[in-house]
Amino acid sequence: MKKNRRFLIGGIIILAALSYMIYGGMQEAIVYFVTPSELKANERSSADKFLRMGGMVVKGSLNKNLNTLTYRFDLTDGTATFPVYFKGVPPDLFTEGKGAVVEGRIGADGVFQATTIMAKHAEEYSPHADGKPPSKSFVPGQEAVAK
């Protein structure tokens, strides 16, 4: 039975190492998904968190500067809106009045500093003849700054 015990110990060590890696990995990579109203309600407690916020780009709010590649716009979920700042190149499908998902943190000025924009990419894939809402599908946007 000595052999069995050795395997047991080996197994426990492997499991422990794996759990540690998973835990560590999750800590740094998990991103919470919020709506503009949720973010508005918890603005202070979400100050340092890396978040993903989804909503509609408010019509008329998009302010872009192609020379500096900076974008300012508001995202809304119907009840609340949240200002967003982005430097970089948004995906092709990103435009006013359409859904978008942004990733980043709230800056000191209370503006959401997005590092990534993902545009909502619903209609083309699915013929929703059954009247169901289109599925959530996103095109990965381009990262604004290489780390």
Partner: protein, 653 residues
Amino acid sequence: MTSTLGHTSVVLALLAAFCGVVCPIVAARARQERFLAFARYAIFTQFVLVTLAAGALIYGLIALDFSIKYVAFNTTRATPIYYRVTGLWGALEGSLMLWEWVLIIFSGITASLYRDRHRDTMPWVIMIFSIVSFFFLTVLAFVSNPFETVSPVPLDGRGLNPLLEDANMMTHPPLLYTGFVGLTVPYAFAMAALITGKLDEAWITTTRRWTIIAWFFLTVGNLVGAWWSYHVLGWGGYWAWDPVENAAFMPWLPATAFLHSIQVQERRRMLKVWNLSLIIIAFSLTIFGTFLTRSGILSSIHAFSSGPVGGFFLAFLSLILLGSFGLLAYRADLLKEQPELDSMVSRESAFLLNNIVLVSALFTIFLGTIFPLISEAVAGVQVSVGAPYFNSVTVPLFLFLVFLMGVGPMIAWRRASWDNLRRNFLWPAAGSLAFGVALFIWKVKEFLPLLGFTLLAFVVVTILYDTVLALRARKRIAGEGMVRGLVTLARRNQRRYGGLIVHLGVVLIVLGIAGSMTYSLEKEATLALKQELKIGNYSIQFEGLKGSRQPTHFRVEGAFRVLHNGSDEGILNPALKFFPTQQSPIGRAVHQSSLTEDIYLILSGFSEIDRNQATLKALVRPLVIWMWIGGFVIALGTVICIWPMKKTELTEP
């Protein structure tokens, strides 16, 4: 008309599949050979009917029969003929049709190839195939019917997703499906072995080639997917740990583990339960992958649509898991006797570690993929798990795997002596360490990349060293020169040398991944005419915009002159495509490859007024090309592994 033909074929095939499930049971219970023949006919009948149905759908797509909803949604009058055909796997219903078609082709080949062998297990093999086929046909007949009609018939169709209009999309899904479906063969034989209680190595020996073929298609299917992502999606990457990429990748892990651990069972009669479990898991993951991608429960670029299909797949998945592991538990007493591991330093234990690493990788990827579902279901919190999780967890695991790739093929079975270790590993280890030190002095200062490149060198050197030793032996014994010696070695032991070549291919892929993960550059800017963007050793000059009308879209392309270290490398034309059916343009990135690095350009915008301004994103991706080269090397190795040889030539050296 076409739709009636197709749908009728599907329904009739469903009846044949039912016979295919019932007849083998009768054949085995009543020992009635007649029913076994019926079962075989049931498979062949399905083959004919499903081919007819798939043919009908392809015909509908080519002939633009817009009365079929699927055709109307996936083609337009302007769609070129080859993209009409690829429309077969452009959306959910068609891709299920393709899946069923490939499945029934595999079943047909198996049933006719082994018609006179494996008399005890064959009925059950046919039954398993028919059960899987029955499930897919049920879905095709009643849940997501590709032959559904529309009325009034639209004048023009809506067209394929423009992102799918690419040559790679002609190959990526069929390759991947062939890999997925190929795993059904070892699975069916494994289940038949469990049902009959004939749990020796026969099922493994019979299906070995099939497993290698399935593995190969899985590998290449994933690689082509990565290539498509790199080439078409225009974000400069090839792998985003998107749930659907994970779904396609996950079966590869247990399949790879299985491919290695069956060698332990063949050689040492160990790991029986483990091997059976691996193949059950691999097969279940192919169904799970379809569930994940086709049920719409995860947001993803690949997710076609939500609908009732998801529920069906989930139910089928549960049935497979319960049935298979139930059988395994039922046969537990037959699977008990197993020789034990002699030493921790042996080939068995290298294979065992390889399996542990692969299964760990599978577990972590699986967890990361479904974590958002768990989180939302349990805590009601919407989260996503980003690429950093997958990278940080899998990179160490895969590096360890690379190390094992160097050790495994060379270490002795049972118990490696000091002598064996010294003979096989002393020089390779010293050589690769020296290589690592040189790399450190030259350029690579970070720990993980340095470790990675050193381990890759270790694998290459062990393989070369071993081959050189074997060649020397050939020279001594038979006086053969290098080329002749290599041919003899490969012919005498095709699995070993084919396998080693596959390993070299994997090394090249890892090299490409490591290089591009570590040393990529990205930069973006809005350029006026003649203005330059500098990135790495490149400077890119904007030379103007041009618009042109294409069959399905309007295309705006930029001209950018690429200068590398001052020398002119020509003009690249990244473009934006404007499809009338889409609200936003689709980017068309371009890149120029060399053996050391790729320069990759994305046109992200332009000034619509005077056309003398363009926004450009440029990336430098080192060593990416080696991933694609690695794919070809793997193909070569696979061909050597499975090349049919006459029995007399197959003697072990």
